[in-house]
């Protein structure tokens, strides 16, 4: 590899004629030289094979893959004759799997959905998968019990684990605003998470027992000491406080160039948890802010109060912890379900805001700064203000996530806010695809599931199933979690720097080999 390639024009259209350099480009060129029919045939054949293979250990997994394949690939194939062949093959496979497996009732179901997908007009077809996914997630608690066990990763997560996953997904979406949209590397995101959790803890617990002040709190006696504020107000308060912290951190530091910014945020990410750890007695003054390593617990549980609960006919539960004595579609609604749906709504709000922001004037300014800071400044984008907004918005969602997590766990401990968590969230963003909300959600869901349960399950699977000449490994896989994240970061950055599900624009930046050196004198420092 030659060190200094000749200056290439920066916006070359590389689609079509891929340069024959490197094995990846060669492989890509070989792939594109095939006829389109053959390419589709290969893709669909591979998916069918996968469906059959997965159908062997578990029927519904195979059906699922066949279904997704049908929905996703078929509309893209040229109609005659390949689409007919592929459709018939997928239906046959799905039918065979369903008929041979444990759940023959699913055969008509699969057929119906596949044919429905066939007849949906093309312009609505692109909503089919998102709608299916949203429905599948919302009704998750209903069919969770009947789900199969994933090979290698073990059972699907229960509702409580799912709440934690959703919180992490929220944080990843928030960090994506900073890292993915605006291109500012933030290595201290955990500080915002901690700020949110501690805000919830200060204003909804016994921490400041010398004061007694209640404001819309539910489920606690009105004479209980300490601040007790309604969790819904606290979510907003925490978000605003964290956003303000973000601005305070950002104002002096955002004028630094990219890698210095990363190290400064890392510094804040190390200082705040240490303040939390030592904050039970500030320099011997006896002022107890954070209760030190013991953390603050218990935190009031969320709830809507009796009045709102009655007004909505019990739809919004009055207290989440004592919920709920009713069944819905034959499913006994539990406290964890309610937490799950609330987290889902919060995530929905986060994703909605994130998408709307991306397409707004501000979002386009972020992308402009990310792609070329100097050019953006020359076109009149106010650098400092735009970057500070990115930082504050990212912090805002981190704060919400932290506050909700605190009230869900009913505790905050300084040990929850290590540097590892920052890198963990960054890893989600990188794996999923910087700048693309959907990719980040997928990456975050996968990694947070791995973190909570997947790694432990995988470890026990490896330890019990691998037998090399009488030798059984005995690896404590969760112990090496951070190393696995490190390896994921390394592999993704080396081989697919735009992530698994990239935003097209970001992918082009990575493959053009831009020399984006932010000039920090352009900000006037």
């Amino acid at each position: 590899m030659s060190e200094s390639p000749p200056e290439q024009p920066r916006h070359v259209e590389t689609r079509g004629a891929a340069p024959e350099v490197g094995y990846r480009n060669r492989a890509r060129a070989a792939w594109h030289s095939q006829s389109q029919e053959r390419r589709w045939a290969i893709v669909i054949g591979a998916e069918l094979l996968l469906a059959i293979l997965l159908g062997l250990p578990d029927t519904s997994l195979g059906i699922g893959v066949a279904l997704v394949a049908a929905l996703f690939w078929l509309p893209k194939v040229t109609p005659i004759p390949w689409r007919l062949v592929a459709e018939a093959a997928i239906l046959a496979i799905a039918g065979a799997i369903a008929g041979a497996g444990k759940a023959p009732w699913s055969l008509p179901f699969v057929l119906a959905i596949a044919f429905a997908a066939w007849w949906i007009p093309t312009r609505y077809r692109r909503w089919a998968i998102p709608l299916l996914v949203i429905l599948a997630v919302v009704f998750y608690p209903f069919y969770l019990q009947r789900l199969f066990e994933m090979p290698l990763f073990g059972p699907f997560p229960d509702q409580s684990t799912a709440v934690v996953m959703l919180v992490f997904i929220m944080m990843a979406v928030g960090l994506n605003i900073v890292v993915g949209y605006a291109g500012l590397l933030d290595l201290g995101y955990v500080a915002f998470y901690a700020m949110g959790a501690y805000t919830a803890a200060w204003f909804a617990s016994l921490q400041f027992a010398e004061h007694t002040w209640h404001f819309g709190a539910v489920g606690v006696s009105p004479t209980l000491a300490g601040f007790h504020v309604s969790i819904w107000l606290l979510l907003i308060l925490a978000a605003l406080l964290t956003a303000m912290t973000g601005v305070l951190i950002g104002l002096p530091t955002l004028r630094l160039r990219g890698d210095y910014l990363a190290i400064v945020t890392l510094g804040f990410g190390e200082i705040l948890p240490q303040v939390a750890r030592n904050g039970d007695n500030f320099f011997g003054t006896g002022f107890n802010l954070t209760n030190g390593p013991n953390g603050i617990t218990p935190i009031d549980s969320p709830g809507w109060g009796n009045r709102i609960s009655d007004a909505t006919g019990g739809f919004l539960p009055s207290n989440y912890l004592q919920c709920c004595d009713r069944t819905l579609l034959g499913h006994q609604v539990s406290s964890a379900d309610v937490f799950f749906w609330t987290a889902l709504v919060l995530l929905g709000i986060t994703v909605f805001c994130s998408l709307r922001l991306r397409d707004s004037r501000l979002g386009r300014a972020w992308v402009a700064i990310r792609e070329d800071e100097t050019a953006a400044a020359a076109m009149g984008v106010p650098l400092m203000r735009t970057k500070t907004w990115a930082y504050a918005t990212g912090a805002f969602f981190g704060g919400i996530a932290g506050a909700y997590y605190g009230s869900f766990k009913s505790a905050t401990f300084p040990g929850d806010f290590f540097f590892n968590i920052s890198v963990f969230i960054l890893c989600m963003v990188i794996l999923g695809g910087m700048g693309n909300v959907w990719g980040v959600i997928v990456g975050a869901a996968f990694l947070s599931y791995l973190d909570r349960e997947g790694l432990a399950n995988t470890g026990s699977w490896i330890n019990s199933n691998i037998n090399i000449g009488g030798w059984h490994p005995n690896i404590d896989v969760p112990l090496y979690a951070s190393g696995i994240y490190g390896a994921i970061i390394l592999i993704v950055m080396l081989f697919r720097p735009e992530g698994l599900i990239p935003s097209r624009r970001r992918a082009m930046e990575f493959h053009e080999g831009v020399h984006d050196e932010p000039l920090y004198d352009s900000t006037g420092s």
Binding site: L187, D259, F510, D521
Partner: protein, 348 residues
Amino acid sequence: MTTEASRHPLASLPRLPSGAGSVGLLFVALLLFWLAVNFVKTPADFVEVFLIGITTGCVYALVALGYTLVYGILELINFAHGDVFMLGGMVSATLAVSWGLEAGQASLWPLVILILLISMAFCGLLNATIEFIAYRPLRNAPRLAPLITAIGMSFILQNVALAWKGPNYVTAPDVLPTGDVFSIGGVSYTWNKLIVVLITVPVLLALVWLVQRTRQGKAMRATAQDRDASAIMGINVNRTISFTFLIAGALAGSAGLIYALYVTTVRFDQGFQLGLIAFTSAVLGGIGNLPGAVLGAVLIGLVQAFNEGLGWHTPGSDWTQSIVFSILILILVFRPEGLLGEQTPEGG
């Protein structure tokens, strides 16, 4: 962008105190007052702590130089550097245990020097390998890409150490003599502290000689200034960068041995923390600036020692990390070029 004026270490030192500057001066004045009161109250403790600070600073200096060398040539914060140092410490501790080093044995010093060389070679090769695997493919990628890779690499190295030695402290034999070199008025300077300095100083001198006087050093400086131009002039840029990583790793390896013998315990997660402190030192002195890194490291070592050792109104060791990172943030915000001025291709 790099002018002769900004390159001169003293060119930007005198500044009119205005705004943030006067606050900074006030802060420094308070700091000096605090030191002075502590000195008057317990002079013996003060000097003792001062000597400890110098010793710690020496270890930091060796690691900080690695950061500064790499940053100077690639503008990359090599997060994995601290973990390379930690692995060096582990290798040294393991060798010292398995060869049965004992205090006062006749063959002690040859063995220590042998371990030093092994540790330096190991860490140098490791660092160069990391550059080859993780940073070289990303040379033309957006600038944050190798930074993110470096974090990933750091985590991988930590877990390698975790898999190798487990989550507990690895103990090295306490072989350095602890007798007094001198003892004046209750202040004693022990041999192990002097030995740390005695190992550090020759390594530093060799480094300065290498960078300033040899052909390879010239190539390094040229590559740091302008990679493309030096390639045109016939310098093998890839090899020069590899060599820089090798040198940086070797420095980390020597620091690892010193740390293992002086502190006698190493754990898998210590490298990252110490690496961050060392990076702070490099930034404090002016990143890319070799004497600056040493000055910054000694200052940070003193800050840490004073904070943990003095008696009058001291935050204590619970807050060391916060203080060091506050220094880092303040320096980056108010004086990003550091005390002695930064020397990177981009200039100050």
